[in-house]
């Protein structure tokens, strides 16, 4: 499948292949997250299958608008803006609020997208839980209100709290690998709150390291059968919370997931992470596509650099070069 963007946020035009591993590398403020959010928006605006009833189309329009308003600013979309998903010569086009249906979720073989923006979603679990209870309570009295919390975090919390029935047998091994790496396990207690268990001791999640929380997200998504060959997972700069060695562990785990059919889109500005992804993608012989996001004037471009990653590494090594040069400028004899 490919995603095509036109005039969204700072991205003027971009075509990115989503197949196996997709890595978008680049500095901050180059449109990496915009593409991920556009993919999330377009996918969630799609119908599951070919049903042309008007009410279904309207329903998807409502969902699409709600997501768009939550994750994009009003200025991000212009009259010429669109997001297009293309697979096997069929396409789905999200343009403003009009949705052109030709391609369905069933066609692209993706049944859910988990967007991991930050592991701090764990710190807000009490808030999400209380708010959802409150909304549901008010709804039972005919009050249809919705508390405006960050959509992507709420969506992820939903995926962490609920299970899918479809089970694939490869997942338990990787869950065990994560448990061994973080030396503990995330378990949902009877009160519906997740806690971290390590050697019979239990910890509230605001007490544990952010890196552990990140791996905990993947462990619970595996537990909930939300990482399988029909899943797409979007990881936005996962390195931010991870020690370099754990960045390598994360890359290794991601490559294993992809080997088992999960599709992964990663935004990264870490040379460690990108080099590790390149290495493990080749080692596991998985499909991989690398892109470089760059800003020029007020626009961002996303170029395919799969066959030569040098532009990515050169770009991301610029900070080191500056440091090296500055350390010589102040050389102390």
């Amino acid at each position: 499948m490919t995603i095509e963007l036109k005039n969204i946020g700072m991205i003027k035009e971009a075509i990115v292949k989503i197949d196996g591993l997709t890595v978008i590398a680049g500095e901050n403020d180059t449109g990496k997250s915009t593409l991920s959010k556009a993919l999330f928006l377009a996918y969630n605006s799609m119908s599951l299958e070919n049903r042309k009833e008007l009410d279904n189309l309207q329903r998807k329009n409502i969902i699409g608008k709600k997501i768009k308003d939550s994750i994009f600013s009003k200025q991000s979309f212009k009259s010429s803006s669109y997001i297009k998903l293309v697979s096997n010569n069929k396409s789905f086009k999200y343009k403003d609020e009009y949705i052109n249906d030709e391609l369905y979720k069933k066609d692209i073989q993706i049944s859910n997208i988990a967007f991991i923006e930050t592991p701090l979603v764990w710190n807000l679990q009490y808030l999400f839980r209380t708010s959802i209870d409150l909304e549901s309570h008010l709804r039972s009295f005919g009050e249809d209100i919705e508390i405006p919390y960050p959509f992507l975090m709420k969506d992820l919390y939903f995926k962490l709290s609920t299970q899918q029935k479809y089970i694939e047998d490869w997942t338990s091994k990787y869950k065990d690998d994560i448990v061994s790496l973080i030396d503990g396990e995330f378990i949902k207690d009877e009160d519906g709150i997740f806690r971290f268990y390590r050697k019979n001791k239990k910890f509230e999640l605001n007490e544990i390291a952010t890196g552990i929380k990140y791996f905990g997200l993947l462990q619970v998504l595996l537990d909930n059968n939300r990482l399988n060959s029909y899943s797409l997972i979007i990881l936005d700069e996962p390195e931010v919370h991870l020690h370099p060695q754990w960045q390598l562990e994360m890359a290794k785990l991601i490559a294993k997931f992809i080997k088992n059919g999960v599709k992964v889109l990663i935004n990264s500005h870490s040379p460690y992470m990108i080099e590790a992804l390149e290495l493990y993608a080749k080692k596991e012989k998985i499909n991989h596509n690398f892109y470089l996001a760059q800003k020029k004037d007020e626009y961002a471009t996303i170029s395919d650099v799969t066959f030569n990653l040098e532009p990515i590494y050169s770009k991301l090594a610029k900070a080191i070069q500056i440091l090296e040069e500055q350390s010589l400028e102040n050389f102390e004899w």
């Binding site: 460690y272 090594a317 080191i320 090296e324 010589l328 050389f331 004899w333």
Partner: protein, 175 residues
């Protein structure tokens, strides 16, 4: 002592162009630099290293008389390496050995020529690891930058720098 070293090494047997000293990773800038590798060979230094043949040495020395300072320099072309991580695991210790070996060698030489080893140990010394790489600078730099910290007590400055920065920001300004 620095004057002695400067005069001793600024003789034809030890001098080569920058590109030759640096195994072609630096461009020739028309000046001549000490090829310290030559020094460890007994034939080039009056058997001073006799019995110390297994010593290794850095590639070059920069001797600054004005500041009483010696810089030990090692050059490495990292572009030619297929796998940097593998090189780190196999060859990293050889650079670490070159630093104390070079200091030991020079100290021994000075002592044999009537200078105080203690004085040599106390004089200002630095180490530069100059590498050439177009893509993995941050990985090399992050990997190596703390590997030499155990020599902090011996060396005033330890720098890991890419050839362009070394040439443009250091050689141009300081030679």
């Amino acid at each position: 002592m620095v004057e002695y070293l400067y005069n001793y090494f600024n003789k034809e047997p030890f001098l080569e162009t920058l590109s030759q000293v640096s195994d072609n990773i630096c461009e020739n800038n028309g000046k001549y630099y000490i090829n310290f590798d030559k020094f460890k060979k007994p034939t080039n230094c009056d058997n001073i290293t006799n019995g110390m043949n297994s010593l290794s040495s850095v590639d070059s020395l920069l001797i600054n008389k004005e500041y009483n300072h010696i810089i030990f320099i090692e050059f490495k072309d990292m572009n030619e390496l297929e796998n940097i991580q593998e090189w780190f695991s196999q060859k990293e210790c050889s650079i670490k050995i070159k630093i104390p070996d070079s200091i030991l060698l020079l100290g021994y030489f000075l002592q044999k020529n009537g200078y105080s080893f203690d004085e040599f140990i106390n004089m200002k010394k630095s180490f530069f690891y100059v590498y050439k790489n177009s893509v993995s600078k941050s990985i090399i730099n992050n990997h190596l930058k703390n590997r030499f910290s155990k020599y902090n007590f011996l060396l005033k400055n330890i720098k890991i720098i890419e050839t362009q920065a070394y040439q443009n920001k250091f050689l141009e300004e300081n030679q």
